[in-house]
Symmetry: C2
Subunit: 214 residues, 2 copies
């Protein structure tokens, strides 16, 4: 029994595979797209993905030429979150990183999911998704505007002037939203970041919109 559990843990015990899992948490993608996004050779990405599949963390389906991978179920992001939380709390090396780089930016007034839901109902905020368009297309928060971080300065006028802006990205270890809020404030806008990212939102069972219409 423990041997099997250890195999699953070991499947997560490689940074590239963790990276692939976080990418898969954004939605289904082909091997090629994943390899590209993770900065791996296709053969290598394929091998890592097979490890994830063999250990029940991901599943794949073939559609035409492409093989699409996705996470095998809801438990996987929960497991990833538990791993993050444990690692964060206990490894000093990580502790220093989190409380240096990230906590320095905590002044950016994180807004919890619940608070955000309330403010969206009031209509008092503009929701900004700063992830790349592919990820936005795969799924996003209802009503969100997509401006990838790198285009933000250029496309600033697409954001209504009067309202507060709430930015979100991939999750607690993604820096996109932090950068976006910093940028927006530098441009004189009132901006905050959402505490979590898209995967956590979906995980919480909250409504999601996607490009395909579904």
């Amino acid at each position: 029994m423990l041997v099997q559990f250890a195999k699953v843990a070991r499947a997560m015990g490689n940074p590239h595979r963790l990276n692939l899992l976080e990418l898969l948490a954004q939605g289904e993608r082909s091997v090629e797209a994943l390899a590209e996004a993770a900065g791996l050779s296709v053969a290598n990405a394929s091998q890592h993905l097979q490890v994830l599949r063999r250990n029940g963390l991901a599943v794949s389906r073939k559609r035409g030429l492409h093989v699409y991978y996705r996470l095998s179920g809801h438990e996987v992001p929960i497991l990833l979150a538990a791993l993050r939380r444990t690692a964060e709390r206990h490894v000093e090396e990580i502790g220093r990183l989190v409380h240096g780089y990230f906590q320095a930016r905590d002044a950016l007034e994180p807004l919890s999911r619940d608070d955000l839901v309330g403010r969206l109902k009031e209509g008092s905020v503009t929701l900004l998704d700063v992830r790349p368009p592919e990820e936005f297309a795969a799924g996003h928060l209802p009503g969100a505007v997509n401006i990838p971080l790198k285009d933000l300065k250029r496309r600033l006028d697409e954001l209504p002037a009067g309202t507060d802006i709430v930015a979100y990205c991939r999750g607690p270890y993604c820096v996109l939203a932090y950068e976006a809020v910093a940028t927006l404030r530098a441009c004189g806008r009132r901006a905050r970041r959402m505490e979590d990212g898209f995967p956590e939102w979906r995980l919480a069972g909250l409504p999601v919109e996607s490009a395909g219409g579904a």
Copy 2:
């Protein structure tokens, strides 16, 4: 960042270390005791424990000649539980085991923690802890009687005759309570098992009694 997370995952990626973690979830213990319980040489156990410590999963303190290890915090059992749940759901090999050996025994009427709390208030059950005395001493459910599985037949008369017996052990993957219920029923007693074990009970913040008086 991902590199650090991967290290933590990898620290759990060995069956002996998972076993040590489950033992540590029972309470603090010396290297020697852990080595003995896990069936490892002392040097080997020491090395595995150091891996756990280096990755923030366990901490140690020296008291006299002995070094005592324990889990580093609440997040660790949560992480272990998440790992179990994921592995259980998705690895077919485990699936077969769970639905063979364990589910065959599911007729042993598992009682949830909440139901148990209710029945304890009514006073309609005898609570039986079938773990070894050391683990019982380190902490147990309030009011529980400790009869290790191997002594159960011999000490049957210590259990009051009229009431239902609810047996518990180390947790969902521990077989002690299953065996105990089977044994008790074979002896004509009305017995059920508690769904989880002692670590889960403590994790849920429910009251715990221990030998030292604390």
